[in-house]
Structures are given as structure tokens and as C-alpha cells.
Amino acid sequence: MTTASLAGIIFLLLFGGLIIYFARFKPGSSHSSLRDIPAFSKIRRGIGLAVEAGQRLHLALGHGGIAGFKGGSGLIGLSLLERIARAASNSDRPPVATSGEASLTFLSQDTFKSVYRLMYAESQYDSEAGQLTGLTPFSYAAGAILVVNDPQVSTNVFAGHFGSEIGLIIDAAEQNDSLTSGGSDDLQAQAILYAAAQEPLVGEELYAAGAYLQVNPYHLASVRAQDIVRWALAGGILAGAILKAFGLI
């Protein structure tokens, strides 16, 4: 086993252990122990609008699937979908989730179904709430534009892997006067979100969505574990650079 593998195992054991420790033994208070990110209060308001004003909320899950590095943002999108579905599924116009990859589509349908089952309203479940709108990035964006153009959509949340085509969806949302917010793991999509979205999430902020919107205690525990591992990593890089500069490693 190489040192890199050993380091990887220690890193994951430390990370996983911290998450379980914070979730089980120190659940911590509410999300108020986290810094303020305006985008999440806008998303919460968007969810409220969907419930009270009968407006529809559109969650774009991207086309990254759930495997590989870009799969992480897809998993976050599904957690966000569960939270949004729990809050807004009994409104006049339940939320809709669009995706450009088949496994994301079927997982979003399963998420909707388990939320409706939890609320003993399985009869209200509609499989078209989780839509596959296209199979290539740009055809996915074309299908999402058709969803965003619906006048009933008041809020668009982006949580998943996108490319530059995210700009087309934001443009359509702007012309429909609806709120645009969210983030992605892809740098091109983040740059466009930063310039064009009303409430962008930069980089890792998307991965804290579960903690800010209180999906379950493990999300808050993950964010606290990320904070600790972040400073361990920064310290490691700093120490490594100094030792490398002095030729010690």
C-alpha cells in the first residue's frame, strides 16, 4: 500500500468519524451557529412562496449523474429536493425537478415518492415531478428552458453539475422575472452564476445547503467536520510548503 493510499484512508476515517461524532454526541444547536449566507434565506423564502402563494419551485439537478467527482453535487441536489418536497409538496403547485441524466431523474422521482409516503399522501405523487428534459448538456438546458418559461414558476434553484449552458437557463428565468439562486461544482457554471444569478452560491457553499435548510442532523455535523478538516488541510499545505522550501521533504 502506498503512502498516498494510507493518507487517503486516514483522511476518510478522520472525516467519517467526525461526522458521526458531531451527529450522535454533539448534535449542536440549530443552523444559527453557521455564518449568514443570503442565498439560503432567499431559497427558504422561495419555498415559502411555493406553499403560501401557490407558486411553483423549480430545482435544476444538472446532468452530472451521481458517480465520480461531479456526482457529489448531484447528491446534494437530491438532499435539497427532499427538503423542498417536504415543505412544498402540499401546495397548489408542487415543485418540479429537472435533470439531464437518467439516474438523477429516477432518484428524484424516488425522493418525491418517499416524501409523499412519509406524509401519507402517496396518491398525490406525480411521476412527472421528476423530469428528464434532455440527454446532452445543451438539450437538457433546452428542456429546462421550457420548464422555466412557465409563468407559475417563481423560484429556480440550481444544485448539481452544469457547464456554460447554465447561462441559457438563467437567461430564460430572468425573462420570466423569477428568482435564480444556487451553485455547482463546475467552475464555468460558478463563474456564470456569480455574474448572472441573483443569489449565487460559491464553491463549497452549495455543499452546506443541507445544513442551512436543515435536511437532517448529519448535514450540520458534516459542515462542522468540513470546517475542522479544512484547517487541517490548510495547515498541512503550509507545513509542507515550508518543509519543501527548506528541502526537508
Binding site: S32, G68, L75, A142, I192, R224, D227, L233, G240
Partner: protein, 234 residues
């Protein structure tokens, strides 16, 4: 003489390209029927291509051919993916879709592991190692590089990497009555990090515009060339 050789295919193809381009550019005025029609055509054609390519390159060589070519005990092992794939087809019928859930759970488990592996092996360790290696003076000297400039650049990258990493710190210690905020030193470091992030976004944004501009130029030039060839043809 097939239609293709007569150039008619090019003529019709050019007209088709011109029409769909104009329909898409009509989006500047706002959402309209022509734009929606072209989007639906685009989704249908793209889906058709992807299905054929995936069937040729994945389903046939990795799923069907092993079963047809296997015999004896190999058939059992080669047939397992086919069996689970058939379970997935239950997703088309809401009442039996639960049969596909175990396979979805398998895909999610493997996908999550690939995400963790990709992040640790492909991003976190390589990026950390690359930042540390910026201070490898021996290598700098080997490449006859200006050592001082390299150290300055390396230091800027080191500070930028750590401060932009610090920008994402989420936890705050709640003081009674005081606004929940990070410690001052961390807040200052985060401000510096945000500067580095914004510079990166600016450069990427300009690159996206350049790519989009090139696409716009390609469309305009193909339209003008086609119209020019039509005029020249009559």
C-alpha cells in the same frame, strides 16, 4: 446520381441550418413559437443520437455480447448484469417500480464511493501536492527558472489557496447579542480569499464569453457564406 451528389443535400442542409439559426436568434425578442419548436426538435434529435451511440458502445459490447458468447458457468456471471438490468425496466411501471430500487441503491453506493475516491485521489491530494511542489527549489533551478520570482509566485498561490479555502468556513461562535460572525483574523483572511476567487471567476467568465463569441461568429459567417453562395448561384 443520388440526391447527395447533386449538392441538393447541401442546399437543403444549408437552408435548414439557416432556418433553425434564425429561430434561435428570435429568442432575443422573447419566448416565441419558432424558438420552442426548434428546442423540441433539438431535444428529439439529440436523444436519438445518444440512444444509438450508447447502444453501440455500451449495451451491445458490455451487456449483450458477453451473454451471447459465454457458456457454462460464465453464463451465470455474464447473465447477472442482464438480470438486474431487466429489473430496472420495472421503473416504467409505477406499481412495480420498487423492484428496481435495489439496483438504484447499488448505483448510488458505487457512485458515492467513486465520488469520494475521485475527490480524494483526483482533487484534494493532487491540488495540495501541486501547491507544496511550488517551493521545490531544486526543480526550479533545474528548469533555469528565476528562483525569486518562482518563490514570490508560489507564496501568492499558497496565500491565495489557504485564504480562499478559509473563505468557505461556516462555523461561527455565538456571542450573546453580538452578530454571529467569524473571528476577526478568519474574517480578514476570508476577505482576501474572496478576492482571489473573484479574480478566478473573472478570467473564466471572459473565457466563456470568448467561446460563446466564437460560436456566434461561426454562425454568422456560415449564414453569410450560405447567402453569398445562393446569390452567386443565381
Amino acid at each position: 446520381m443520388s440526391l447527395f451528389d447533386l449538392g441538393a443535400a447541401d442546399l437543403i442542409g444549408g437552408l435548414l441550418g439557416l432556418t433553425v439559426t434564425m429561430a434561435v436568434f428570435s429568442h432575443f425578442i422573447g419566448d416565441n413559437t419558432a424558438f420552442r419548436l426548434v428546442l423540441h426538435i433539438f431535444i428529439g434529435v439529440a436523444a436519438g443520437y445518444i440512444v444509438v451511440v450508447v447502444a453501440y458502445n455500451v449495451l451491445w459490447p458490455k451487456l449483450m455480447r458477453p451473454v451471447l458468447e459465454a457458456d457454462g458457468w460464465e453464463l451465470l456471471w455474464a447473465g447477472l448484469p442482464l438480470f438486474f438490468s431487466l429489473l430496472l425496466f420495472s421503473r416504467l411501471f409505477p406499481r412495480y417500480s420498487i423492484l428496481g430500487s435495489p439496483v438504484l441503491a447499488f448505483i448510488v453506493g458505487v457512485g458515492a464511493a467513486a465520488a469520494i475516491g475521485g475527490a480524494v485521489v483526483g482533487v484534494i491530494f493532487p491540488q495540495a501536492r501541486a501547491t507544496i511542489n511550488l517551493f521545490d527549489l531544486d526543480t526550479i533551478r533545474q528548469n533555469q527558472g528565476n528562483v525569486n520570482m518562482a518563490l514570490v509566485n508560489g507564496s501568492i498561490i499558497l496565500v491565495g489557496t489557504i485564504s480562499s479555502l478559509a473563505y468557505f468556513h461556516f462555523g461561527v461562535r455565538k456571542q450573546a447579542g453580538a452578530k454571529t460572525q467569524r473571528p476577526d483574523w478568519m474574517e480578514w483572511l476570508a476577505q482576501v480569499g474572496q478576492g482571489f476567487i473573484v479574480i478566478a471567476f473573472g478570467l473564466i467568465f471572459a473565457g466563456i464569453y470568448a467561446a460563446a463569441l466564437a460560436a456566434l461568429i461561426e454562425r454568422m459567417s456560415s449564414i453569410t457564406r450560405f447567402i453569398y453562395s445562393l446569390i452567386a448561384g443565381f
